[in-house]
């Protein structure tokens, strides 16, 4: 897995305009009836930071997102956005927030431009201001030529870009993006992320996003893995990968269960079975690759060897696979 060419510095130190928190979450819990969705979240997101929330569906991402967007009041704990309590002063928080939901929030019967005008009015922008900002965004997101088409006539990818334009239109200080690049082709996805980095550098924008793309997660300053209602790890992608240490070897065997026992007996290490393949974290993995192939030549379909990726971090933490673009570098 190659690093994206213009990945921001890990940690984002030096680029943050101030050290004050954009978001401060303390002891946040939430449950739907009997089912707990959030089991005590503590998290500070710095101003000017690009923070990725990752995790499988049902892990609590959406609930956390709704709390931050002021749609759901926290049941336990406290959440402040720019030092305003989201439960006590949602209207003050909303003013500084840009939100892009996973589900479309544009009106298909209105044109792209009309959608943006309507959105700008909801945020109290006057016509001149909103038209100027809309023109910039339409240009930047490649929508300028379709500005007078109704959104219902646009392809899924273009409609998604209208959502993104809407979220940024009123110049928010914090944008919450739930799977922003779903439906975008890889080029548009990279381009949009670069634009977020640009807005962060220029205007001090703080970004919190969820994603299923490892490539996007790699470009975040910090990421937090959510699993079963908890944040199981929060750090810069490079630090998270460094924590695993050594190499990751994945053995695709004809009979994974038998192979797991044989590797355990022979090499004394305990492979994890992930998605039908055996996964081993170890120092000097290249030697193991040689030895394992020599030991069981007929029983192995393939062996993959590499430095740990974020996918490996996630598997290490949860024992589950997660990213959509792993193993398909052409599509990522």
């Amino acid at each position: 897995m190659t690093q994206p060419p213009c990945s921001p510095l890990a940690g984002g130190e030096g680029s943050s305009p101030t050290t004050t928190a954009a978001i401060a979450i303390a002891g946040l819990t939430h449950r739907y009836g009997e089912r707990p969705a959030l089991r005590g979240i503590d998290l500070d997101v710095r101003r000017g930071e690009i923070f990725g929330v990752l995790g499988p569906n049902g892990g609590g991402k959406t609930t956390l997102f709704k709390v931050l967007a002021t749609l759901v009041a926290p049941q336990g704990g406290a959440v402040t956005v720019f030092d305003e309590d989201t439960a006590r002063h949602p209207e003050r928080v909303r003013r500084r927030l840009g939100v892009v939901f996973q589900h479309p929030a544009v009106d298909g019967k209105l044109t792209v431009r009309e959608n943006l005008a309507c959105h700008a009015a909801l945020y109290g922008l006057d016509g001149v201001e909103s038209r100027a900002r809309a023109a910039t965004l339409l240009e930047r997101l490649g929508l300028a030529e379709r500005a007078d088409d109704r959104v219902e006539a646009l392809s899924g990818g273009l409609a998604r870009r209208v959502e993104l334009a809407k979220g940024l239109l009123h110049g928010p200080d914090l944008v919450l993006l739930d799977e922003p690049s779903t439906g975008l082709d890889p080029g548009a996805r990279r381009d949009f992320f670069s634009y977020l980095v640009h807005l962060r550098d220029r205007e001090g924008l703080t970004v919190v996003l969820t994603t299923h793309y490892m490539e996007e997660a790699e470009r975040c300053d910090r990421i937090g893995f959510m699993h079963q209602g908890r944040l199981v790890a929060v750090d810069a992608p490079a630090h998270l990968k460094a924590e695993i240490g050594g190499d990751v070897v994945v053995v695709d065997a004809v009979d994974p269960e038998a192979m797991r026992r044989r590797i355990e007996e022979r090499f004394g290490c305990v492979p994890q079975v992930v998605a039908g393949a055996l996964r081993i974290e170890m120092p000097r993995g290249h030697e193991f690759v040689r030895d394992v192939v020599e030991a069981f030549p007929g029983d192995i379909r393939s062996v993959t060897y590499g430095k740990p990726t974020l996918e490996d971090v996630f598997v290490h933490l949860t024992g589950e696979r997660f990213f959509d673009d792993v193993g398909a570098p052409g599509g990522a």
């Binding site: 939901f101 209105l110 909801l122 109290g124």
Partner: protein, 255 residues
């Protein structure tokens, strides 16, 4: 205020771009009027209606009420659809207040209702009603007030609803009876005792009475026994205020 105006404007743009709604909201009451009025006139006369007033003429203000009711229903269904489509969620995270959202929605529905109600006014000469410019103003004012109240009432229901299916059931159980028991269809004076009481408690009865009185401003003797103009207007305005506050309160509760 800018946000209220944008939501109001959006309702109108959407309406214009969905032609079936326009046809539905106008053609259906027209059909009802011709079928009911025409069918009843030969055999029946609404009991208690003025003797020289035909059924077509008696139903005429009632059908205007039905136009307003249909428009209100359609525009509140739009709220349920907005929730399903996700548009409403986008509005809910914006800084506009819940009251502002409801006001934009209610004014949008009211505007559409007034335009369609006014279109129906063009048929007034067919039932022998001639309107002075002052009377037209009064009628349009009453139509606007009734439409605002009905749309707000619809919003109270719509903001609680998850799907349009449940909405239809509630509509038929609440809004249609309110219209039927408003004097639009038969006068309170001719109704059975308990029904008469219900009609007197029905706020729309006073809206319909105000409408009738304004339509026959020059010939009050043709109106028959309905509540007087001033109390009717006052009750209707109170209906507006109560329904709007209830809709806003409902919107506040559903975050």
């Amino acid at each position: 205020m800018r946000g209220v105006r944008a939501l109001w404007w959006r309702e109108i743009v959407r309406f214009v771009r969905q032609r079936s709604r326009l046809v539905g909201a106008f053609a259906q009451p027209l059909l009802f009027w011709l079928l009911l009025g025409g069918g009843f006139s030969a055999s029946l006369r609404p009991p208690g209606a003025p003797a020289d007033l035909g059924t077509m003429a008696y139903f005429y203000p009632g059908i205007i009420g039905l136009v307003l009711l249909f428009t209100a229903i359609f525009s509140t269904i739009a709220v349920v659809e907005d929730r399903k489509s996700g548009f409403l969620q986008g509005v809910l995270v914006s800084p506009i207040s819940r009251g502002g959202i409801v006001l934009g929605q209610a004014l949008g529905g009211t505007t559409l209702a007034v335009l369609q109600g006014a279109l129906f006014l063009l048929l007034a000469p067919l039932v022998g009603i001639s309107l002075s410019p002052g009377a037209i103003l009064a009628v349009v004012g009453v139509i606007a007030a009734v439409a605002f109240a009905l749309t707000s009432l619809g919003l109270v229901i719509a903001w609680r609803m998850e799907s349009t299916q449940g909405f239809h059931a509630i509509m038929n159980l609440i809004l249609m009876p309110i219209w039927i028991l408003s004097g639009a269809f038969f006068p309170a004076s001719g109704a059975a005792g308990w029904l008469g009481w219900l009609m007197q408690l029905n706020p729309l009865t006073y809206g319909m009475a105000a409408l009738r009185r304004c339509l026959y401003l020059g010939a009050p003797e043709a109106v028959g026994r309905v509540p007087a103009l001033v109390p009717s207007v006052l009750v209707t305005l109170a209906f507006c205020a109560v329904a709007f506050c209830a809709a806003t309160a409902t919107a506040r509760r559903s975050r």
